[in-house]
């Protein structure tokens, strides 16, 4: 187990290293510098600034400093926002994104599991049919279309919710719904498929032969076996949420990391772009690692392997 963990952490470091290196050289290739924001500086002032950020050093030195900075958690400074350290920018923005993502994940998963469960129990009934439709639409309609629709119908036309921005819990509702649709649809589809398969297993027949009531069969025997594989889907879901957040935050003008990323891309603020990329990659890898560990813990077959 520990060997596995160590191996994973090792891969994580290599991946981050590669991304960091890639980012660094990309940044060097593309035009852009701390001087972008100020045009009206004299030559000397520009020199001072360049010196300050070590941009006159030879590339290998810059690279080494860059990596060193990374280890210490320094992601450089933004070219656009008055040279604020990237870390500060990200730190300020992580709150809304985390909250939104968490809400969407939890609500989406729970609703999705419930829908999928109902669909599998009442197979080929209207409930199954409508749940499948919701699932298909949820995974198909591009999130920005859906978000836009929500915004138009519920905020602009009906006025039930604020159109955009962040602040109160009312502000979180529409974005959460928009973001939760994808996890919900994925969870519903997955749960249904797994439950249908599980309910055909031999041990379910055994349970019936014992006289266990139908509700017990579904909930106690079936669901726990069906949900374990669901954990593996959580990884891609988390990624989807990251992607989705960029879109949703754009549309609802939420000051989160996703919106930050998109903005910095549009204005070519490379340090921020690279910093955010690294953060995303880091978060993603950590999430995957946690999920793999979780899976190993929850499935007794893996947890207690070799107990004969």
């Amino acid at each position: 187990m520990t060997r596995y963990l160590l191996r994973r952490v090792w891969y994580m470091l290599i991946t981050l290293f590669i991304i960091a290196t890639f980012s660094f050289f990309l940044m060097k290739i593309l035009p852009g510098s701390p001087l972008q924001a100020e045009d009206k500086l004299s030559e000397e002032q520009k020199e001072i600034i360049l010196e300050k950020y070590g941009l006159n050093d030879p590339i290998p030195v810059q690279y080494a400093k860059y990596l060193g900075g990374l280890v210490k958690g320094d992601l450089g400074v933004s070219f656009k926002f008055d040279n604020t350290p990237v870390t500060t920018i990200l730190f300020d923005r992580i709150g809304p994104s985390a909250l939104l993502g968490f809400q969407a994940l939890v609500i989406g998963s729970i609703l999705g599991i419930f829908l999928g469960l109902m669909a599998s129990i009442y197979r080929n009934s209207p409930i199954d049919f409508s749940s499948t439709i919701i699932a298909v639409i949820g995974t198909s309609i591009p999130s920005f279309v859906f978000a836009g629709l929500l915004q138009y119908v519920f905020a602009v036309k009906l006025g039930w919710f604020p159109v955009a921005l962040w602040g109160t819990s009312a502000h979180t509702i529409l974005p959460t719904i928009a973001l939760a649709i994808h996890p919900m649809a994925t969870a519903a589809r997955f749960t249904r498929t797994e439950m249908v398969e599980v309910l055909h297993s031999n041990y379910i027949i055994t349970a019936r032969a014992k006289g266990v009531a139908e509700s017990g069969i579904i909930l106690k025997h079936g669901l726990r076996n069906a949900l374990i594989p669901l954990i593996t889907v959580l990884g891609p879901m988390a990624v989807g949420l990251m992607t989705g957040s960029m879109v949703i935050e754009q549309i609802f003008a939420i000051p989160g990391i996703g919106e930050q990323f998109v903005t910095s891309v549009m204005v070519n603020d490379y340090p921020t772009i690279m910093g955010t990329t690294l953060l995303f990659a880091f978060g993603f890898i950590v999430i995957i690692l946690i999920i793999d560990l979780l899976y190993g813990l929850i499935d007794p077959r893996i947890r207690l392997a070799g107990g004969k």
Partner: protein, 351 residues
């Protein structure tokens, strides 16, 4: 001996995409208290479907009991609702399945899987149930039950798993235990252990056992009475002695003849050619006729009724009609019958 179970003219069908499959076409037999009835037949003969029907475990909605009665101590199970059957399954009748690998819930502790039935049917508390579960584990021969009770199925070997399945089945002292090919998936040595186990338990608890198998060797070891099934019907039924010493149906001859024995010399195995018929369109006349080297013209016209050979022994073959030619079982079969008589065992050679 009192009649515990009476199955009367049971017919089971399945609605498939291609039409109605007549899996069981009129099966009648009794089961007495404390006895072991073996149901023997090929794959597709309907033996598993019969036992599933008794437990009302047919896959719905396409499987259903078309006709017939299943009287458990006089009460017709065929008419019970699903809720009522839940009270009966696991308590009055329980089942042991073929594949111990997949019959146990992989994410549930063994202990709980045993205790579940106890808590439900006998209203035991968790502690009482746990105590009983430990006793059961000991009864079926699992060492260190106190440790094992908290383990998961994948931590047991195949044979041990099957013992656990037996423990689960016996938990509530059922009147009838249905064992559906319980040893087919196990090694031969483990097979013998499980059979011993079932016999010893039966002696202790006096439950009746319906033992489903395609292996005549196993039958010889465990059964009191034997029913041979083919294409959804019982073709011969009798005591073990009747069937092994004096088989009357050509299909039974085929089964006995195709058992390899250690004490027979250089003869070919007597194999039954062909495969069972398609149950979508049940054959007219005797279903076995196409594969029966002793078939008569009448076999293609009319189905043979059950002819009485003795009070305990019946066979459904036109060969027993007074007008039929007197046919002897083939030599290979005769040798085996003699072999059984001589050695006094009915199994495949010396055990």
């Amino acid at each position: 001996m009192s009649k515990l179970l009476e199955v009367k003219d049971l017919k089971v069908s399945f609605n498939t995409y291609n039409g109605e499959v007549h899996a069981v076409r009129g099966v009648t037999f009794d089961l007495n208290k404390g006895e072991t009835l073996a149901i023997v037949g090929e794959s597709g003969s309907g033996k598993s479907v019969t036992s599933n029907a008794i437990m009302r475990l047919l896959p719905e909605p396409h499987g259903y009991i078309k006709e017939g009665q299943i009287l458990l101590e006089g009460v017709d199970l065929a008419k019970k609702t699903s809720k009522e059957m839940q009270k009966i399954r696991g308590k009055d009748i329980s089942m042991v399945f073929q594949d111990p690998m997949s019959s146990l819930n992989p994410t549930m502790k063994i202990g709980y899987q045993i205790m579940e039935g106890l808590m439900k049917h006998q209203n035991m508390s968790k502690t009482e149930a746990r105590k009983t579960a430990l006793e059961l584990l000991t009864l079926v021969g699992i060492p260190r039950p106190d440790v094992r009770i908290n383990q998961y199925p994948h931590q047991f070997s195949g044979g041990m798993r099957q013992r656990v399945v037996v423990a689960i089945a016996l938990a509530c002292n059922p009147k009838i235990l249905i064992a559906d090919e319980p040893t087919t998936a196990l090694d031969v040595t483990i097979q013998a252990q499980i059979l011993e186990l079932m016999k010893s338990i039966q002696q202790k608890t006096d439950s009746a056992i319906i033992f489903i198998t395609h292996d005549l060797g196993v039958v010889a070891n465990v059964a009191d009475r034997v029913a041979v099934m083919y294409a959804g019907k019982i073709v011969e039924i009798g005591t073990v002695d009747d069937i092994f010493y004096n088989p009357k149906h050509p299909y039974t001859w085929g089964l006995i003849g195709s058992m390899p024995t250690l004490d027979s010399s250089d003869e070919e195995l007597f194999a039954i050619p062909g495969s069972p018929p398609n149950m979508l369109t049940p054959p007219v006349g005797d279903a076995f006729a196409p594969r029966n080297q002793f078939a008569l013209e009448i076999d293609t016209v009319m189905e043979p009724p059950m002819f009485k050979v003795s009070d305990t022994h019946y066979a459904a073959t036109w060969l027993l009609h007074p007008d039929a030619p007197k046919i002897e079982p083939p030599d290979a079969v005769k040798h085996r019958m003699q072999g059984f008589a001589q050695t006094g065992t009915k199994g495949g050679g010396k055990r």
